[in-house]
Amino acid sequence: MLLLPALAVLAVFFVAPAVSNVVLAFQDVTLFQLGVGGAWVGLANFVSVLTDDLTALALRNTVLLLTAGTVLPRLALGLGLALLLNARVIRRWRLAGLSRALLIIPWATPPVVAVAAWKWLLHPRFGVANQIAVELGVLDQGIPWLLQTSTVWLGIIATVTWQGLPFVAISMLAGLQAIPREVYEAAQVDGASGWQTLRHVTLPLLAPVTVVIALLTTIWTYNNFVYVWLLTGGGPGDYTQVLATQLYTEAFVNYDFGKGAAIGVLMTAIMVLFSVVYFRFVVSARVRPS
């Protein structure tokens, strides 16, 4: 059977770690006990996680700022960009290929490179973002974007949005191009204005694609660790800790693997809950047979 090898890999390196992660969550494990297994401590890890003020902050950061804060702008900007790129003039002037190739660049940049580039752009003194702002007279002097609490989330959101926007835009563009031209012609015959066509023809027909893109980007962003970790390391202080970085900090900085695993269990539970609710209420309502 073709199935067996893949299932074996899944079982050994996916299901087994997932299960052992749950087991770890009920143990007190330090680095030296990793090989032998730690002592059972019952729910102590969960109590420790749930009573930690940092967890509440990390949860709020993950859901509101990292996920909602970057998914919504990506969807809005992606839709706008897709509509622009879908304009007939782009094709008529033979710019379709060029514009898509340029659009893909942020998406094709490895996340580590993207983060390095943005850290350099946002550097307090030598960053070009500050230099341009100073040159234009918007700012008197450069601001340390990623080092002060008032702007650090702007920096993270800008980076994540920049890297994720092409995926949304390209997917929506594909969705737009799948809409049959006849529908627009029918709308035109009925005397619909441009806005009405957008509101009552384009957007409803784009909804199934949008629903899926929203789900995927939400999952990817929520689960993501690299952006926040590499941009700020959770700092300044613990100001930008998200669940993923909190997990990593507990497990590999404080060497409390049990607590890290407990955070992991909670993180998964939240994602599963979100997915189930999303499937039940959004996907089943939107992606219905026509």
Binding site: A114, A178, A251
Partner: protein
């Protein structure tokens, strides 16, 4: 009148293209800036005033890279990713079983594969690390390759499944009638009495395995189209003849319109199968973690 009209159109076209140009320039800028910075003379790197264009070209950075360990790192990356990719693609053939066979536990396993897309991989890190310590896989190529395979297999299966499902089973049936074999399937043995296994066209076995070339058969490869609404009822699915179940949506014209977005409903749960088809130029650079 018509001249006025075309002038208005012309203005709008230029405005559209200009907007697209500005937006794309903004999107590409961070990447271009990395390239520009890499070529700048060293003394220009740390300066506080804005200087968009470098004063000269300096390749010191690159030559320094090549003389340090960079080549080794590059080879490390290539070796690890090539091995992981090859194994992962080979294992992804499991998708064939999911697409063409019905077997006990199919829906549960499929759910597992879908769930793995929702799962935050960072959660697995502590327990995989613990397992690797025990197996002495820490700091080895093998460990890295295994970790990558574990992460990419579910996604590969999932992606391939979308393509395979878009190939109509009629083609399989036709190929079987022509005498082609299919991968051994223990559950099919019972049906060996089926005429279809022995039939030949004109007594000559025809070697043609249409299902090996997804996309070619329905001509949708690379069109970048996402079918808007395709819903497939999940039920026991049969390979081979006898798959003429009218409820199987793949038999409906248009349902085979290529990889795209489809929702499946059945057995009390709704699972969403997502294959976002993007233009072929797009690398599926889906970085789920790290």
């Amino acid at each position: 009148m018509s001249a006025q009209h075309s002038v208005a159109n012309r203005t709008r076209d230029v405005a559209t293209v200009a907007t697209v140009g500005v937006v794309l320039a903004l999107l590409v800028f961070p990447f271009v800036w990395v390239v520009v910075t890499s070529l700048r003379p060293a003394e220009e790197l740390l300066q506080s005033e804005l200087r968009l264009f470098p004063g000269g070209v300096n390749l010191d950075g690159y030559s320094e890279l090549l003389t340090s360990g960079f080549v080794r790192y590059l080879l490390n990356s290539l070796a690890v990713c090539a091995t992981a990719a090859a194994v992962s693609v080979a294992l992804a053939l499991a998708a064939y079983s999911f697409s063409r066979r019905s077997f006990r536990g199919r829906s549960v396993l499929l759910l597992l594969v879908v769930f793995s897309q929702v799962f935050p991989f960072i959660v697995l890190v502590p327990s995989v690390y613990a397992a690797f310590v025990r197996l002495e896989l820490v700091n080895t190529y093998a460990g890295l390759v295994i970790a990558y395979i574990a992460i990419t297999v579910p996604f590969s299966v999932y992606l391939l499944l979308g393509y395979l499902d878009s190939v109509p089973t009629e083609l399989d049936d036709a190929a079987k009638v022509d005498g082609c074999s299919t991968p051994r399937d223990p559950t099919r043995r019972r049906h060996h009495g089926d005429l279809c296994f022995r039939r030949r066209v004109g007594g000559v076995p025809v070697r043609r395995r249409a299902h090996d070339r997804p996309g070619e058969v329905d001509g949708t490869r690379g069109t970048g189209r996402v079918p808007r609404r395709v819903q497939l009822p999940v039920g026991p699915r049969h390979g081979g003849l006898g798959a003429d179940d009218p409820a199987d949506a793949r038999h409906l014209p248009g349902a085979a319109a290529g990889p795209g977005v489809r929702a499946r409903r059945g057995l009390g749960q709704v699972t969403l199968q997502v294959t976002l088809s993007v233009p072929p130029a797009v690398p599926p650079n889906v970085v789920l973690i790290l």
